[in-house]
């Protein structure tokens, strides 16, 4: 905090942005290293399956540049990543870029809606608890969020699926739209169809996120309420609600900072949730790619996921600067 305030928010954001670029570079290098260390190469992944003769394999290798020295291949790979050329996905039979353009928005939609809702619900719930710490209600909510926080997201998703799609079949089990019917629906019905498909995956991610943010906000708000300015505000005769509002805004800062750190957890959650609900996002594309040894798409997913995480902490910094007047001074 102190460092951030003295450094100036712009300088800090620039250093964050530089770091994000570096993260992408490291992720690209790491995937290259893994690919080099792994048994076999992308060619053998395809060729083993279809019994391709040795000469043809050698020809393919030469075509793709896999016969070049490692250093040459590395420079070429980094250059390609920098230009956004991530190769050809063998599992989807199209360029990796096309897969990302197609799938990433679906993942971002799910993650964005879940992140926004978790922050809203979690911060409110935690703040509400902080105004009555130690009460039976506080302890009950704390225990519930600890339990929910301990439930692996894929299992929670499975249970939601079981209860709301099979046991009480009110919601669709898989996908983003009803593929058979969607084309013939009116625009209102299409929206309704999309919402119905969104409910379960969104709930699975949001419940987990709400539990985490409530835990953060409860502690932060409790700390804020014990600070001097709260006593001053009370002494001045402000209403209870207005005192709470002051404390809430103060407590929101550490919570927002943690929202950046929460990003990897959200991404992990999204991979599992997409798998369980057949949500057509990057996560389910990645899992299909793994099963069919689609190295290009796997590498691209690691790079994209790392870039998203780095941008997530950058985004958290921007949000915090917006919420904290002290950080707005450049």
């Amino acid at each position: 905090m102190g460092e951030a305030a003295s450094q100036g928010v712009v300088a800090r954001l620039i250093s964050r942005a530089v770091q994000s670029v570096f993260v992408v570079f490291v992720a690209a290098s790491l995937t290259f290293l893994l690919l080099q260390l792994a048994p076999g190469d992308p060619i053998s992944a395809i060729a083993d399956a279809s019994n391709v003769p040795t000469e043809v394999r050698a020809q393919w290798r030469a075509q793709q540049g896999f016969d070049q020295p490692v250093a040459t291949q590395y420079v070429r790979w980094i250059g390609n990543v920098a230009r956004g050329q991530l190769g050809h996905s063998t599992s989807q039979q199209r360029p990796v870029r096309a897969v990302i353009a197609d799938r990433l928005p679906n993942t971002l939609l799910l993650m964005g809606l879940a992140l926004g809702a978790s922050l809203l619900f979690g911060a409110s719930l935690g703040a509400w608890q902080a105004t009555r710490t130690g009460s039976a209600a506080d302890r009950a909510v704390s225990f519930t969020s600890l339990v929910l926080y301990s439930v692996p997201e894929f299992w929670f998703a499975l249970m939601l699926l079981f209860v709301f799609s099979y046991w009480i079949p009110v919601l669709p089990a898989t996908g983003m739209i009803d593929v058979a019917m969607h084309g013939s629906m009116s625009s209102g019905a299409r929206l309704w169809d999309r919402l119905r498909h969104l409910v379960l995956p969104w709930t699975a991610l949001t419940v987990m996120g709400t539990a985490i943010f409530a835990r953060y906000q409860r502690v932060a708000m409790r700390d804020a309420l014990s600070e001097q300015f709260v006593r001053t505000a009370r002494a001045k005769g402000l209403t209870t609600w207005s005192v709470y509002w002051h404390a809430f805004r103060t407590a929101l800062l550490p919570t927002i900072t943690l929202a950046g750190l929460f990003f990897p957890a959200l991404l992990t959650g999204a991979v599992f949730v997409e798998r369980v609900f057949g949500w057509p996002g990057m996560g389910s594309a990645l899992l299909t790619a793994i099963n069919s040894r689609d190295y290009a798409l796997v590498s691209a997913s690691v790079i994209v996921g790392s870039a998203m995480t780095a941008l997530g902490s950058l985004f958290a910094d921007v949000l915090r600067a917006l919420a904290d007047p002290r950080l707005r001074r450049v």
């Binding site: 770091q19 993260v23 992720a27 992990t268 599992f272 690691v302």
Partner: protein
């Protein structure tokens, strides 16, 4: 005025537990001080179940001779958790899986503690430019989502053996420990007793071992407990995707994987191993939380 507080026997916890003691001046806190007992009891219970799994399990975890007669049975008195597609008793498999799931998490967390403590202690003691670069490296490492990295490795190397899985989870799980240890070491380095030790000529490894490490114990215990929770969940997730522990070795995650095809018809394959996972993760989280409050470690994130 104060109720007597029993200090749990955790040697080396002196400094941090002392500040925990200061907080215990009100009677409300003293009940909170004992909050670690119930989750600790659960963990002991789970460990006992894991150790005595062969004695406790009603059946063998392997495919029985009469497997074709007892496939996919719903829970009953003979098979309280039902049977799977190969006629194996799910209760027995869940019991045997606790050995794999718990020891795998424990071993990999131990490895990550060693790695993280070394890295963090070096960064904290050396300081200066080297420390800045080491920390920047950690920032970058923390930006690469652990799950994606694990998925990539399991994609490139299929069917990893258990030891490889432990190494993999251990070597990707130490970044946050390193950061916490470094902060704590820096704080300790400014304390009078370290200055005094330095004045008497204590340096390097001896300084670390005798004067710094003992004070890190509370931090490491709390972090290890929370990491074990995270690792149990992560392993369950990986095995559920078919990329972690490979069948026929049972783990809570891969039993659930067998049930994922027929969620509606074979709910018992997902529900019971899932509940075992939740209990283990919850017990570790609750213990970690309670110990963090007990040792007054505000620097460990919730």
């Amino acid at each position: 005025m104060t109720t007597p507080v029993r200090v749990p026997d955790l040697s080396g916890a002196s400094l941090a537990s002392l500040s925990g003691e200061m907080r215990s001046m009100s009677p409300v806190v003293s009940s909170r001080q004992r909050r670690w007992r119930v989750p600790f009891l659960f963990i002991v219970l789970l460990a006992t179940v894991a150790v005595f799994a062969p004695a406790l399990a009603p059946y063998s975890p392997d495919i029985p001779a009469n497997y074709d007669a007892i496939q996919n049975l719903a829970p009953s008195r003979a098979h309280p958790f039902g049977t799977d597609g190969l006629g194996r008793d799910v209760l027995s498999r869940v019991l045997f899986a606790s050995r794999i799931s718990l020891s795998l998490a424990f071993a990999s967390v131990l490895l990550s503690l060693v790695l993280g403590t070394s890295y963090g202690a070096i960064a904290g003691l050396v300081g200066g430019g080297i420390d800045r670069w080491l920390m920047r490296g950690l920032d970058v490492a923390l930006s690469i989502p652990r799950l994606l990295l694990l998925l990539a490795v399991t994609a490139f190397w299929e069917n990893l053996p258990l030891t490889a899985l432990i190494m993999l989870l251990g070597t990707t799980g130490w970044f946050d420990v390193a950061r916490l240890v470094r902060g704590e070491v820096q704080r300790l380095a400014q304390q009078d007793f370290v200055t005094a030790a330095r004045a008497t000529g204590v340096r390097g490894a001896r300084m670390l071992r005798v004067h710094v490490l003992p004070h890190l114990v509370p931090l490491l215990i709390v972090n290890a407990t929370l990491s074990v929770a995270a690792t149990i969940a992560l392993e369950a997730g990986l095995s559920y995707l078919g990329l972690g522990v490979q069948p026929p070795t049972p783990s809570w995650g891969n039993i659930m994987a067998e049930g994922s095809g027929g969620m509606a018809s074979q709910w018992w394959l997902s529900v019971f191993p899932g509940m075992a996972t939740v209990i283990a993760v919850l017990a570790c989280h609750a213990l970690g939380d309670a110990l963090r409050d007990r040792f007054a470690l505000d620097q460990v994130p919730a």
